[in-house]
């Protein structure tokens, strides 16, 4: 298989490497590509922000995009079997008009099924439905030494659990069986409430957990002092056809028209300076009303997907996304410290996203547990970001916070074992599957996830 070096990066375009990429389209192709010696890591749509889908050293990336077929769908159980290169966008396009939706979606639908499993993604309904991984019925893994292994909770459970959230390090996820969920419509009834400050925003999220399936807060991370942590809390439940206006009630699952906005080129760096970002954040908060309205799934779940290539707004310097989780006990103080540090640095960009998270699952490298998680973009380049990231590392260590591998490009490797107490369990499974160390990413070598 011909392979040429090409620039590869995550969504934040920090870091960027030159590496070759194999693009198999059939199982036979895949076996050939996988048999090549050298380090490899699977790569889907490249939506992880940092270096999770970048090969390490002189290794290569194995693209899943050439294998993106839907294999079977069972109308009775809602179980879809598909090759790992299928994107969530495709699944939604096919199944939402028929009344089915993915059990969990992240903030973008342009991720592959394989990526969703490998990063064990979460969404606005984490406190109710958990992560993507808990809805996976089984998966087929191309093992590091070759050969396919089907695994599930009932079959090869340790491999199954290590693969979900395992950042592609247990092998190449080839097929996934995912249980879709019936939804009453393609609309959410969304209540918006403004939180005055961090305490108020946290309280609004915590108290509304029980009555809303989807909750999230968009925070103004430029606000400081008394207003630190002010935000717009969005609480949503899926709308029934009866709750829709008559014209939509007839076809409650109809997809909204496709957006055509794009960022056609890299914006200059001053486009997102402290002034523009400050004005934007203030307007977003100021213009939000405390009300309830119907919002289509597209706008509710994937607000940024309406602008293709939005990562280009940060220009060539790239950016990093900082996503931290804090347990309930330390969440308030940890978040306060993070927001204060970011506010002081004047490096914050668009709105930050704050989400209440539910209990942990049984996957050793899965990210969330009961508490809160905060995510926000920080523009590059690495040189100017490094001091802030180091400060945030200190806050994470002090308040028992942890970072999300799918976003990270900066965390200190020394902090990882404390953040992920089940890391050793993961390592044992990974080592048994891959004694020669064939599957490696830049992330896994940077953070020493296997040794």
């Amino acid at each position: 298989m011909a392979m040429k070096d090409e620039p590869l990066a995550g969504w934040g375009r920090l870091p960027c490497v030159f590496a070759s990429q194999a693009r198999p389209t059939t199982r036979a192709d895949l076996a050939t590509a996988w048999a090549v010696t050298g380090r490899r890591i699977s790569r889907g749509l490249g939506r992880s922000y940092g270096d999770a889908a970048l090969p390490s050293g002189d290794g290569f990336a194995l693209s899943s995009l050439g294998m993106a077929k839907m294999v079977s769908f069972d109308e009775a159980s809602g179980i879809l079997v598909a090759e790992s290169g299928v994107s969530l966008a495709e699944i939604i396009e096919v199944f939402l008009p028929r009344g089915w939706f993915l059990p969990v979606v992240p903030g973008t639908k342009f991720v592959t099924l394989g990526g969703a499993v490998a990063a064990d993604i979460h969404g606005k309904n984490h406190h109710v439905d958990g992560t993507f991984g808990v809805h996976v019925v089984w998966l087929e893994l191309l093992l590091p030494r070759g050969g396919l292994l089907r695994c599930s909770e009932g079959q090869e459970a340790p491999v199954f659990r290590a693969t979900i959230g395992g950042m592609g390090l247990t092998g190449h996820i080839e097929r996934v069986a995912i249980r879709l969920r019936r939804v009453p419509s393609a609309w959410c009834k969304v209540r918006t409430i403004r939180g005055r400050d961090l305490d108020h925003t946290l309280e609004l999220l915590a108290t509304n957990d029980g009555s809303y399936r989807h909750t999230v807060a968009w925070m103004d991370c430029v606000a400081v002092g008394d207003r630190l942590g002010r935000g717009v809390v969005m609480l949503g439940n899926e709308a029934t056809p009866e709750e829709l206006p008559p014209k939509d009630a007839v076809t409650p699952h109809r997809l909204p028209p496709k957006a055509k906005l794009t960022v056609p080129f890299d914006l200059p760096e001053y486009a997102l300076g402290p002034l523009t970002v400050g004005v934007f954040n203030a307007c977003y908060y100021g213009l939000a009303k405390d009300d309830e309205k119907l919002v289509d799934f597209e706008k509710f779940f994937f607000p940024l997907d309406t602008i293709r290539d939005w990562n280009r707004i940060y220009g060539r310097r790239g950016f990093s996304q900082f996503q931290a989780y804090f347990p309930d006990a330390t969440a308030r103080d940890g978040l306060h410290a993070c927001l204060a540090a970011i506010g002081r640095s004047r490096q914050a960009s668009f709105l930050a996203v704050l989400k209440r998270s539910g209990p942990a699952n049984d996957f050793p490298l899965s990210f969330l547990d009961l508490g809160y998680t905060l995510a926000l973009d920080l523009p590059g380049p690495s040189k100017t970001l490094a001091p802030l990231m180091a400060e945030l590392d200190g806050i994470l260590a002090a308040y028992r916070g942890k970072v999300y591998f799918a976003k990270d490009a900066f965390v200190s490797p020394a902090l990882v074992p404390a953040m992920y107490p089940r890391l050793e369990e993961f390592r044992r499974v990974q080592r048994a599957l891959d004694p020669s160390g064939a599957v490696r990413s830049l992330l896994s070598t940077r953070l020493k996830l296997h040794d």
Binding site: A2, E6, T26, M70, V71
Partner: protein, 244 residues
């Protein structure tokens, strides 16, 4: 074999990227499909994918263009059904020692297939469109690729003659001439960022429009038509000195 009321669109060499993009176009339009190719397991997967995504009827049939007799057998497999179009996508590219194999797969197999379809439709009174994917390489033999080019030139001449023969009967024959397309054939040979490199979906779109329209010979992307006109017009005493 499925029995379907809708006239069948037969896609031969259905695992190729261009064929797959074309099959998607057809499925979006709700057409009934028959996918033929060598790799039955892969065909079944592609068919399942099309059924799930678009809710269309898709049948599969094994077909190996390297074996004489396969074309007749394939046409026999859908003898009872009306056919709207048959498009041959298969082709192989090799060096001088693979010339005979290329002539078989790239030209003789398509001839066998189309002769059988023409005969059958004459009996049935149906008027399918016959289209085959040739190549701009057939327009002029170049030192870098002439055995392949020669097999495509043979196909071009065959299609031209068949078109001439079937025209009075009201059957259309279309020659599709793609330039560089992002497929296995061009991987590692053509710069992936070249503006001349087309996506399989763009080529499939051109093929669909050719079938729906009235063209006889279609270059895809369109700019290959003037490029190849120039290349064809270079006098041989100059051409033989070029390094192409």
């Amino acid at each position: 074999m499925i029995e379907s009321a809708k006239p069948l669109h037969v896609i031969v060499g259905a695992t190729s990227p261009i064929a797959r993009a074309y099959a998607v176009d057809c499925a979006v339009a709700g057409k009934a499909l028959l996918l033929a190719g060598r790799n039955l397991e892969e065909l079944e997967l592609i068919a399942a994918d099309l059924r799930i995504r678009y809710g269309v009827k898709v049948a599969v049939e094994r077909y190996d263009a390297s074996l004489p007799g396969e074309g007749c057998r394939l046409v026999g497999s859908f003898a009872s059904q009306p056919v709207a179009a048959i498009v041959a996508f298969h082709g192989i590219m090799g060096g001088r020692d693979e010339f005979v194999a290329m002539l078989q797969v790239n030209c003789a197999a398509i001839a066998e297939l189309f002769e059988a379809v023409a005969d059958q439709s004459a009996h049935a009174g149906s008027k399918p469109v016959l289209a085959a994917v040739s190549s701009v390489a057939g327009d002029r033999g170049r030192q870098s690729n002439y055995p392949y080019g020669a097999s495509k030139a043979a196909l071009d001449a065959y299609l031209s003659g068949l078109r001439n023969r079937l025209h009075p009967l009201g059957l259309r024959v279309i020659t599709i001439k793609p330039g560089f397309v992002r497929t296995r054939l061009t991987e590692g040979k053509v710069n992936p960022r070249s503006p001349l490199l087309a996506e399989p979906a763009q080529v499939a779109d051109d093929i669909r429009r050719a079938i729906e329209g009235s063209a006889d010979v279609v270059y895809t992307r369109w700019f290959w038509s003037p490029i190849m006109a120039i290349i064809r017009s270079i006098p041989e005493f100059i051409f033989k000195r070029l390094r192409l």
